[in-house]
């Protein structure tokens, strides 16, 4: 195979490069200042931790915002003086204002989706796992990799600054539809806050492109000897498709944002036409907000898979490892990832069934949307079959992986409702949608992330996280997720609109009956949030005080990252990079608990992976 040869060459080149760079390796490190080692580091493992910790900080902020606006939804008549302390006149008398409510909702969505579950999730695991699981010393371009983090950092700072503006951050929702987002007069948040939001997101897109191109080229070119594509662990396959989706769709989003910036500041009319606002008619003619919706959702939908796929990969990997069983249907898993990734470019307008788009066009999007259910259900069945006849070791990562499957089923099935345009006529923009995407994407992706953090923490920091706290974290979050989001389906079926500051007006009397439920959801949200803080405590505490790892392969896993020393240095393997001889899922084969990928296939054995043969 020519790719095999090429891989080998690339590898030798990389080895040579590192040998030159590292002098005589790890006996003594050459002097790295604190700055180059921990801040402007080009080591993929450090960059991964930078993404993770930045993501965690954002998750705390985004989660805190949801607690605040849940207070408003749960207790609209109560006054919380501490809110005035934090937000000043935005929460005069201990009540948050409608503007603040919408700013919190907007920031919550933006932060969770982009900063936490895109940058934080795939930034962490792509960086950490791609070189380690493929047997590479680092990314294809460590320098661009470093830049991708610092662009993300810059985007973060810009977004953070927007929180402190006099007119506040954007309040146009994470989707930022114009003209609301285009006209300064439309809301407080549509003033400077919106410009900063757009600039921050533009910088963010640059970060994602740098990152994605690097992930793709590393996966294609830097695999160690013997690591053919079909021997790659499913984590890598998932991260690969994630990167491809990002590279193909983020530029479209960027173009949409730039046109919006033009409309806001340069008097163009891409999205504006026939508008009378704040007492005067605008001169803009001929634009269409629906154009923006297309540009946005062309990324927006793949984006939900950018959020989902890493969790799917991690879940596949961990279910196999912790149930000591090969993943069921490896090729079907890869195939379904491919199908999901491809179809996800053909379904964007299912977010636009009621936008005024041509209904005939809508029909195609119904078809492709429901088609995605097929590879998705294949994945679920394969996960179930992986557990079947397993020997499940109930570690914390195993729990989160199982929880992921449950949440993915619950949230995924309602996608079949929403994707069918006739039903969407009723359900669009109600709490049904909130329930759907929080279960399937929000919480499930978080579960994938938690599973990954608990699983690879020993590799990242040479210590374990506290198990008991981990178990508490899992059960409270899992139960809490269902308690919060399951009843929201009923609110949505009753037509309760999302993005409402309050439902107490007489005109909305029909929704007063949900007040008790809203209160309940808010209380659960506070508890769940508190438990996440406990996780954060566990994380940082364990970095310094966790139980040290003694066994370099504590989970008895097959993948390459566990063949590195407990404390991995720059370059990952002190000696030569190991060669790969088999797929990553030889668990419980021929009575042997696990056979790492580095173990050569004995002549008596049948090999699976490259040329998948049926056993028996």
């Amino acid at each position: 195979m020519s790719s095999e040869v090429y891989t080998g060459q690339a590898q030798r080149a990389a080895v040579a490069a590192v040998a030159v760079h590292d002098g005589d390796g790890h006996a003594h490190h050459h002097h790295q200042s604190f700055i180059t080692k921990y801040i402007f580091s080009q080591d993929h493992k450090v960059i991964s931790k930078q993404f993770l910790i930045t993501g965690m900080i954002w998750a705390i902020i985004g989660g805190f915002f949801s607690v605040i606006f849940r207070l408003q939804l749960g207790f609209p008549d109560k006054s919380f003086p501490f809110l005035e302390t934090i937000f000043g006149h935005w929460a005069a008398g201990g009540h948050i204002s409608p503007e603040l409510y919408y700013q919190l909702v907007t920031m919550h969505g933006t932060i969770m989706i982009f900063f936490v579950l895109t940058a934080g999730l795939s930034g962490t695991f792509s960086n950490f796992l791609i070189p380690l699981q493929l047997g590479a010393r680092d990314m294809a371009s460590p320098f661009l990799n470093m830049l991708s983090y610092w662009f993300f950092f810059a985007a973060s700072i810009i977004m953070l600054i927007s929180l402190f503006l006099k007119t506040g951050p954007s309040e146009a929702g994470w989707t930022a539809y114009p003209p609301l987002s285009a006209l300064h007069e439309a809301s407080e948040g549509s003033k400077t806050g919106m410009d900063l939001w757009l600039i921050s997101m533009a910088v963010f897109v640059v970060s994602q492109l740098l990152a994605g191109l690097n992930y793709i080229s590393t996966i294609l070119n830097m695999r160690t000897k013997g690591m053919s594509m079909t021997r790659m662990p499913l984590t890598i396959w998932a991260l690969f498709f994630t990167a491809v989706l990002g590279v193909l769709s983020f530029p479209v989003l960027l173009s949409g944002f730039i046109l919006l910036l033009f409309d806001r500041n340069l008097g163009t009319s891409f999205y504006l036409s026939d508008i009378y606002i704040a007492g005067h008619a605008l001169p803009n003619q001929g634009g269409s907000p629906i154009l923006y919706e297309h540009l946005f959702w062309f990324l927006g939908h793949p984006e939900v898979y950018i959020v989902m796929l890493p969790g799917m990969g991690i879940t596949s990997e961990l279910l196999a490892t912790h149930s000591r069983k090969p993943i069921f249907g490896y090729l079907a898993m890869v195939g379904s990832l491919f199908a999901i990734a491809s179809l996800s470019f053909l379904v964007w307008a299912h977010h636009m069934f009621v936008s005024g788009m041509n209904p005939f066009l809508g029909a195609f999007f119904v078809l492709f949307t429901l088609l995605i259910a097929v590879p998705s259900s294949v994945k679920v069945f394969n996960w179930l079959a992986t557990l079947w006849k397993g020997n499940i070791q109930y570690t914390v990562p195993a729990l989160f992986a199982i929880g992921f499957v449950s949440l993915f089923i619950s949230g995924g099935l309602t996608g079949i409702w929403l994707g069918n345009s006739a039903l969407d006529l009723h359900l669009h923009d109600t709490y049904f949608v909130i329930a759907h995407f929080h279960l399937v994407m929000g919480i499930a992706a978080f579960f994938g992330m938690f599973a990954g953090v608990y699983h690879w923490f020993p590799k990242m920091f040479g210590r374990f996280m506290n198990n008991t706290l981990g178990y508490i974290h899992f059960w409270v979050t899992f139960i809490g997720a269902y308690l919060m989001f399951w009843p929201m389906h009923y609110e949505g079926l009753a037509g309760m609109p999302r993005r409402y500051y309050e439902y107490s007006a007489d005109a909305l009397a029909i929704y007063h009956r949900f007040q008790g439920l809203n209160e309940f959801i808010s209380v659960v949200a506070i508890i769940v949030f508190a438990v996440q803080l406990m996780f954060v405590f566990n994380f940082f505490y364990s970095i310094f005080k966790g139980r040290p790892v003694k066994d370099p392969n504590p989970w008895k896993a097959n993948t390459l990252e566990w063949t590195t020393p407990i404390h991995v240095g720059h370059g990952n393997w002190p000696g030569e990079i190991p060669e790969v001889h088999r797929w990553a899922y030889d668990y419980s084969k021929n009575g042997i608990d696990f056979i790492p990928q580095t173990v050569p296939v004995s002549p008596a054995e049948e090999e699976v992976g490259e040329t998948v043969k049926t056993p028996q």
């Binding site: 001929g286 259900s377 499940i392 007006a505 909305l508």
Partner: protein, 350 residues
């Protein structure tokens, strides 16, 4: 003050949990890794089963508590079809939900790690994989077919006997316009909008079709008669949300949209059916449109044709109101000079 105590209490709780967690880590080391893992396997596998059972009971309780809070029967012909389709979808996805969740948690319990057991090296079965790809594909095809049938019938052209009402959203209320006796809505130009001059929609007064158009803040519909809503927006995107009729459609500035449906029950009938004498149909804004989004609600009155005609006759046209308010000079010939051709934003003129 009470807030302070809550914080202290939480901190204490937190410290206790952390101490227990630390202690149990030591216990685990003393017991040995293997034994601890065994115990954890038993504990969490059992919890998985408990979660399944409690969860199923919870679903039932949740349903019992909330089912009466759902909407009354669909109030439009189209809504009835949508509700029916929703039931079909619920049954299909419900079956899949129960099968997969029960399998997941039962497997999670049954195949917990046990000393002396080993997993099976079983990772492929092309026949079963074929079936579980084909069955969802088939099911989806059926759902798509049902869905598109309804979708095309709902989005088809409105029947010729449909009455027309124009709906315009603005921050933060709704404006409805009825064509009046001539049955035709007069021309509009957004540059003529002037609330102070009784012209919230920018009606072109030189167009005689405008002279009998009635503008209202309430949506009046006739029971059993199809209505076609011609939807637009003055400023940002809004959405005409009609939960009782199970429909909605965006109101987009510069891009006219339409939605037609047939109301099935008058407001009075619905009041009787729901047992709520104060029942009023609502139109809610379903697209984030600014800080007042949550307050953008309008009343809908569904009545008999006779009641509707009476109501319409009792309304003054906007033209009359503007004239009375002195916003239109009695000599309208000057207005008629307005360059009608150069008005790109004529929302509706038949």
């Amino acid at each position: 003050m009470s807030g302070f105590f809550v914080v202290v209490l939480l901190l204490l709780l937190f410290i206790i949990v952390v101490q227990i967690a630390k202690a149990s880590e030591y216990v685990a080391i003393l017991k040995g890794e293997k034994k601890t893992q065994e115990q954890n396997n038993r504990l969490h596998a059992t919890l998985m089963l408990v979660f399944l059972i409690a969860g199923l009971i919870g679903l039932y309780i949740c349903h019992e508590l909330l089912k009466d809070k759902l909407l009354p029967v669909a109030a439009s012909v189209q809504g009835v079809a949508i509700d029916h389709m929703m039931t079909v979808t619920l049954v299909i996805t419900g079956i899949v939900f129960f099968i997969t969740q029960i399998l997941l948690f039962v497997f999670a319990y049954k195949y917990r790690g046990r000393e002396g057991h080993q997993a099976s090296y079983y990772h492929e079965n092309s026949r079963i994989e074929f079936f579980w790809t084909a069955i969802p594909a088939l099911t989806m095809t059926i759902l798509v077919a049902i869905g598109l049938k309804h979708w095309f019938s709902i989005t088809s052209a409105a029947p010729p006997n449909a009455m027309v009402v124009e709906v315009t959203g603005k921050q933060f209320n709704w404006i409805f316009r009825y064509p009046g006796k001539d049955g035709v809505l007069g021309k509009r130009d957004y540059r003529l909008i002037d609330e102070g001059k009784f012209n919230p929609l920018g009606q072109v007064w030189s167009d005689p079709y405008n002279h009998d158009d009635v503008v209202s803040s309430e949506l009046h519909l006739v029971v059993g008669r199809p209505v076609k809503l011609e939807i637009g927006s003055r400023d940002v995107i809004h959405d005409v949300g009609l939960p009782y009729f199970r429909l909605k459609m965006d109101a987009v500035p510069g891009v006219p949209t339409t939605l037609w449906f047939t109301p099935k029950y008058t407001t009075a009938e619905m009041a009787k059916m729901t047992g709520d004498p104060n029942f009023v149909y609502k139109l809610v804004c379903d697209q984030l449109c600014g800080a007042g989004h949550y307050s953008m609600v309008a009343n809908i009155v569904v009545e008999t044709q006779q009641e509707f005609d009476q109501w319409l006759a009792s309304q003054k046209s906007q033209y009359e109101l503007a004239k009375e308010g002195g916003a239109i000079p009695s000599d309208t010939t000057k207005m008629a000079m307005l360059p009608v051709k150069a008005q790109p934003s004529v929302v509706s003129a038949k």
